[in-house]
Structure formats: structure tokens, C-alpha cells
């Protein structure tokens, strides 16, 4: 237990130091502008950290599998298909036809809607097996991905760049209005769901134990899947696909913490995500000088860590 509080202190201070450092590192002459600009990026990073941490840890608990992320359900495929479709229909006019805010809200509606359709398909019979849900999500995700790729082949190469810009997560062009909306939705979701968070401790014991201990399993799974859908949509619509990050940070958190308590794991995981994202953003901006998108760095590091996890674990 003492180990835990030490590690929590450590990661908290690391988060604060990295944020301050990122904000004030070589500010230069037009410091007001720089500070405002960096502050926006930092706020976006905070939103993404919270939603990635909360959604990934919750998802892994529901599936009792620690090498999954919600991306397996095909949320990001829905997002990409939507972006591709918009460019496909409106071509280079797509920004005029659908403005940033509309695009943001439309993305959220589509992703949450997709999640609902998915649950509907399965819930009529009740969830015997979470993996069936995942499998259907996975297959639908692949289908949507293929569809996107097909459409991307048809669109004008110049317009394809618009789509490509959406394919990689980026914190560099954050729209202030979107950020406000994202913060609002995130805040509401966390506020409403956090009092149920101890139920995750029970759900982590698996379906049979959860029912034995008197939890309404189906209802709670549904509740948390909705939370996951909303959180994932907000972060994806705001900055683009970053879910792979969840794998890295959640497993790092499990290494750091010696506890089963989700009311501790999730906030700490958010801090870990924050540190990783601020660090990644710093690398992109100052070392790679924006030549490499942050998602490439994250996927590279995350990929290596994933292989490490696979090798280290004897059983999956």
C-alpha cells in the first residue's frame, strides 16, 4: 500500500512538471500567443487522457482482458468512414458543407449510434459472452474499414489529403469551440458515472461472480458500454484515432499500481496518459519538428510494448 501512494505521488508530480515544462519551454517573444496556443493543446490532451484512460480500463475490465482496447469494437472505423464519406460527397467543399462543429457532433452521433446498434443486435438475447459482442464489432469494423479504403481510392488525390489529415491524431489544430463541447460532454459523463465505479471492481471478478454478488450484470455492462462509447467518440472526434495509446497506458498503470480498485486505477491511468501524451507532443514539436505526427510515435512505442506484453505473458 505504501508503494502505491509513493507511485501515485510520483506520477502526479511527473504530470504537473511535464505540463508546466510544456507550457513554458522556450516561450519566445510573443509569449501570450504561445501560451494560449499551448494551453489549448494541453486542454485537448487532458480531455483525451481522461477519456482514453477511463474507456480503456473499463473496457478491459468488462472483457477481463488486458490486451484489448475499445478500438476493437470498430469506433474508429466508423469515424474514418464518416470522414471519407464527407470528402467523397462534397469533395474539396467538404469544409464548407459541414463545418468543424457539425463534423464533431456528427462524428459523436455516428459512433455512439454505431455502439447502440451493436448492443441492440446482441442484447435482445442477453450477453452470455462478451466476446461475441467483440467479434461482431471487429467484423463490422473491418467491413467499414474496407469500405473507407474503397472510397478513398475513388476520390481525387488532392482531396485524399483531407482524409489523410483525419487519419492521424493531432493536437496541433484544436478548435476552441470543439474543445469546450468536448470538455462539457466529458465532464457530464464522468460526473454521472463515477459513483458507479466501484461496481467495476465486482465486474472484474467475471460474469458469474458479479451475478453471484447480486449485481445486475447485463444492466451494468450496458451502462459502462455506453460510457465507453461516449468517451471514445469525444476523444476521437476531437483529435482523431488514438485508442492504441490505451493499451500502453493501461498496462503501465497496472505495473505501477498494486491494487484492484478502479476508483484509484482510472485516475492514475489518466495521469499516466497525460505524461505520455505531453511527452509525445513535446517530441513531435521540438525533436521531430512536426515532421512526424504524434500518433506515429505513440503507435511505434505502443506497438513495441504490445509485442513485449505478448512475449512476456504465458497465457492470453
Amino acid at each position: 500500500m505504501r508503494n502505491n501512494s509513493r507511485n501515485i505521488m510520483l506520477i502526479s508530480s511527473l504530470a504537473i512538471v511535464s505540463m508546466v515544462f510544456y507550457l513554458f519551454f522556450s516561450l519566445g517573444n510573443s509569449w501570450e500567443f504561445a501560451l494560449h496556443y499551448r494551453g489549448m493543446k494541453l486542454a485537448a490532451i487532458v480531455v483525451v487522457s481522461c477519456s482514453v484512460a477511463y474507456s480503456t480500463v473499463t473496457f478491459q475490465t468488462l472483457t477481463t482482458n488486458r490486451i484489448l482496447t475499445p478500438s476493437i469494437m470498430g469506433f474508429e472505423s466508423v469515424f474514418m468512414l464518416l470522414q471519407t464519406l464527407l470528402v467523397f460527397i462534397y469533395a474539396s467543399e467538404s469544409f464548407k458543407a459541414v463545418n468543424n462543429l457539425e463534423n464533431f457532433l456528427l462524428s459523436i452521433v455516428c459512433m455512439v449510434g454505431f455502439a447502440f446498434v451493436l448492443y441492440m443486435l446482441i442484447y435482445r438475447k442477453g450477453v452470455r459472452n462478451m466476446y461475441l459482442l467483440l467479434l461482431i464489432g471487429l467484423v463490422l469494423g473491418i467491413l467499414l474499414n474496407t469500405l473507407s479504403s474503397f472510397l478513398q481510392l475513388l476520390i481525387d488525390p488532392n482531396n485524399f489529403f483531407i482524409v489523410q489529415g483525419k487519419m492521424f491524431a493531432s493536437f496541433s489544430n484544436i478548435n476552441q469551440d470543439l474543445l469546450a463541447y468536448a470538455l462539457f460532454i466529458l465532464g457530464i459523463t464522468i460526473l454521472l458515472s463515477f459513483r458507479y465505479i466501484k461496481r467495476l471492481n465486482i465486474l472484474a471478478l467475471g460474469r458469474d461472480q458479479a451475478i453471484n454478488l447480486g449485481l445486475n450484470y447485463n444492466k451494468n455492462i450496458r451502462l459502462f458500454l455506453v460510457v465507453i462509447a461516449v468517451l471514445v467518440s469525444v476523444s476521437t472526434a476531437l483529435v482523431g484515432p488514438v485508442l492504441f495509446l490505451g493499451l500502453l497506458v493501461s498496462n503501465l498503470t497496472y505495473e505501477i499500481l498494486n491494487t484492484y480498485k478502479h476508483e484509484v486505477i482510472i485516475p492514475v491511468c489518466a495521469l499516466v496518459t497525460l505524461v505520455v501524451l505531453v511527452g509525445g507532443q513535446f517530441l513531435t514539436e521540438y525533436i521531430f519538428e512536426l515532421s512526424t505526427p504524434i500518433s506515429t510515435i505513440i503507435n511505434f512505442i505502443g506497438g513495441i510494448y504490445f509485442v513485449y506484453l505478448l512475449i512476456r505473458r504465458k497465457k492470453l
Binding site: T64, R199, G206, Q209, I211, L213, G214, N216, L257, Y260
Partner: protein, 255 residues
């Protein structure tokens, strides 16, 4: 009193349970025996609402189990299944504390803490209480899980093959705990067992399943009988007496 009426369950065309009715004697250990695939675990899962039956009803204290709120039912009836592999960093004591969830919803009261201590003592887990589950041996882990169910303090305890993968010493240890639970605390225990001699020595009643039905039900000594066992398992048994209990020898390789 726990009672099942006309329970049926099928998977596709395969009928697992076919119109089963049974009353389980209160304050006793009843073993469910039968070959693999005769629906013992399915029956236990249905009785504990882990699985929904196609037909029939389960009554707990004369009330249908679907009429209970789930949290209330879990103060009357608990189940322990055979596969318990979780990847959580849990200590024995933390696991046992989960057993109080139906009462405390995660916020442990003074009474909960007392119950947890009492349970740890009852199952001889005091020394292991701060160990992490992953560091325990199979027998110790099984005992820890059993402790969680005991801490749940329900009248009815359903156990699905609690002796799975345990050596003789740990099996005996578990069965002795079950005896103590019925004799000291008056619990009603329904347990799926594969080892016929454990069923014979430790249970009061035996229910034997075959072809989706309860083919035999009665006092343990009445059911342990060469003809019945041969009918159930399709091999011949040689039964002898020891300490007033029947001992079955089915290692009849030579005849």
C-alpha cells in the same frame, strides 16, 4: 428450502435437462453426481440464476428466484463455479471482503469487518490474509474463494466441482469445511462432485443425474449401491464398508 420445479434446458436440439423437479433438504449437504455432460453444472447455474432455463421455476424459501431483487437473492444464495482465473492484484482478505458486497455495496461496515475476520478464522486463512492470490497454491486459492462465499453468509451455498485439481489433502480439507458449515452454521450445501467416495463420505443426500433427469435421489448410503452406480456410470463397482460409510472401488481393470 430450495426447490426446483419442472426445469428444462436445451442447447439447440440437445436436451440437457428434461423436466427436473427436486426439493433439496435444508441444513444438509446434497451431492450432485453423474457422468460428464449430464447437466449437473447446468442445473447449478440455473439454480443460481447464472443461466436462464427454458422452462420451469426455481424457488428459494417458497419464493420464485426471479421475484427477488438480485442483491437480496445474493444474501440468501451463493454460488462458486469451477473456473476462477482472474488477473487482479487481490489479497486473500480483499477477495473475502467482496463476499460482503451484497450487504455493503462496497462500503464495509463494522459488522462486515467482523464477518470477514470470522470467516478468515473459520477457513484457517488468517496467516494468508495479506498474500496476493497469484502467489497462492491451487488449494489455498480454492479455499480463499470458498471463504468469499462463506463471508457472503447465505443460507444456501452451491458449489460446482470445488475439488477440481486439488490433491487429496486439500480435497479433504475443503470437504471438512463444508461439513463444518452445515453442522456448525446450519448451511444448506449443494455440491457437484466427481469423486464418488467424497460424495459417499461427506454428503447427507445424493442426487444422481442421467439423461437430463434426476434418476436417483436419496440418502447417501442408499444411493451408493452397485446396481445404481453401474447404471449411472456404465462401469462396475465393488463396494465395501469402512467406518460406517461405503467405499467404492471402480479400479476394475482386471475384470
Amino acid at each position: 428450502m430450495i426447490e426446483i420445479k419442472n426445469i428444462s434446458k436445451h442447447y439447440g436440439d440437445h436436451v440437457v435437462l428434461n423436466d427436473i423437479s427436486l426439493r433439496f433438504p435444508k441444513g444438509k449437504i446434497t451431492s450432485l453426481i453423474g457422468s460428464n455432460g449430464t447437466g449437473k453444472s447446468t442445473l447449478l447455474s440455473i439454480m443460481s440464476r447464472l443461466l436462464v432455463q427454458d422452462n420451469g421455476e426455481v424457488f428459494v424459501n417458497e419464493k420464485k428466484n426471479t421475484d427477488y431483487k438480485s442483491a437480496v437473492l445474493s444474501q440468501h444464495l451463493s454460488i462458486l463455479k469451477q473456473f476462477n482465473n482472474i488477473e487482479l492484484k487481490l489479497t486473500v482478505k480483499e477477495l473475502v471482503s467482496f463476499g460482503r458486497f451484497p450487504y455493503s455495496q462496497g462500503r464495509l461496515s463494522e459488522e462486515d469487518h467482523e464477518k470477514i475476520e470470522e470467516t478468515l478464522g473459520f477457513l484457517d486463512l488468517i496467516e494468508l490474509q495479506d498474500m496476493y492470490l497469484e502467489a497462492l497454491s491451487g488449494g489455498q486459492r480454492q479455499r480463499a474463494y470458498l471463504a468469499m462465499v462463506v463471508a457472503q453468509d447465505t443460507e444456501y451455498i452451491l458449489l460446482d466441482e470445488p475439488l477440481n485439481n486439488l490433491d487429496m489433502r486439500h480435497s479433504v480439507q475443503i470437504m471438512k469445511i463444508l461439513r463444518k458449515l452445515t453442522e456448525v452454521l446450519g448451511k444448506t450445501i449443494i455440491v457437484v462432485l466427481h469423486d464418488i467416495n467424497f460424495a459417499s463420505h461427506y454428503s447427507d443426500y445424493i442426487a444422481a443425474l442421467k439423461n437430463g433427469r434426476v434418476k436417483y435421489f436419496g440418502k447417501a448410503n442408499e444411493i451408493i449401491n452397485e446396481d445404481i452406480l453401474k447404471d449411472l456410470f456404465g462401469i462396475s463397482f465393488c463396494i465395501s464398508q469402512s467406518n460406517g460409510k461405503k467405499l467404492c472401488n471402480y479400479f476394475n481393470h482386471f475384470n
